[in-house]
Amino acid sequence: MAFGRSSRTKPFVEPVTLKILVAGGFGVGKTTLVGAVSEIRPLRTEEVLTEAGRPVDDLHGVETKTTTTVAMDFGRITLREDLVLYLFGTPGQDRFWFLWDELAQGALGAIVLADTRRLEDSFAAIDYFERRGIPFTVAVNCFEGAQRFPAESVRGALDLDPEVELLMCDARDRESVKNVLVAVVQHALVLADRSPAAVTT
């Protein structure tokens, strides 16, 4: 079978690929955040869940369906030709937790995007990353019209460990999102420096 393009002059650069997860409740702005820094319009990838080999108990509320589709939005940042960072928005619905395990595997860190009007929506994500030792940063998306709270009271409400950073951000703003990403990677760096083994448990 001919695939065209037979004269390739140089071999492909095989990039190192990394991923950062973007978690948070439904409608908190995960895809907006991804879109603010991604060089591509956020793409949507889907996983069809079938009855075979899937924890069907998790499909609570859709028992009559034999298949269902979970969408994950993602974006890409090419830092260098040989270094590419992917951002994955995690499925917002709690019943798809098992998909997170796959997404989280090998992730260098995570952003938990929070909305002060619905802080409880971010508890599950924070708990998830804490338990798995995945470095994460909480970014409070400052929605227009939402009351601003001092960072300290938000920290308290979320019961964050002192070393977890909490930032105010605007998910639509590229510079703001860049700052959040740098904070995540810096946190990962601190953990990796301290003890490479501790973060794998």
Partner: protein, 141 residues
């Protein structure tokens, strides 16, 4: 919603010649896993990560190769020949579920038409020097 319900009450059964159940909501007419001949896991030993990059092998340029490849296989090779792509990008570009793309890429790996880069090994973080490069890269954006 309620409009729809009303309409179906008024018109019991499908209108002849109008297959209105084959709309977007019904999904593709060919069920996704038909393209993998029912297989849900790939021939390759490792589950391919979403950010594993698919890179064509020189054999992919060879005309008159494997005639048993499906159009989807061919399209994956063609897309990667322009620019190596991750599993997630292929799935989005081909509008196929990730699981289907994994199986198809697994076939291509078996046929030695492509190889797949392994991202950071599971349960390990990238090393410190890469993290520093990521920070520098992000700041320079």
């Amino acid at each position: 919603m309620s409009d729809e319900a009303e309409r179906s009450r008024r018109e019991p059964g499908p209108t002849p010649g109008h297959h209105h159940w084959f709309d977007d909501e019904a999904g593709p007419v060919v069920r996704p896993y038909a393209m993998t001949r029912g297989r849900t896991s790939a021939a390759t030993r490792h589950r391919l990560d979403l950010i594993a990059v698919v890179v064509p092998e020189p054999a992919a340029d060879d005309p008159g190769r494997d005639q048993t490849l499906s159009p989807e296989h061919v399209e994956i090779v063609e897309r990667c020949s322009e620019q190596p792509q991750s599993i997630a990008e292929l799935a989005a570009g081909l509008d196929l579920p990730v699981g289907v793309v994994r199986v198809l890429v697994g076939d291509l790996v078996e046929d030695e038409l492509v190889h797949v880069t392994r991202p950071v090994p599971p349960a390990e973080l990238p090393d410190v020097s890469i993290l520093r490069e990521v920070i520098n890269g992000l700041r320079a954006l």
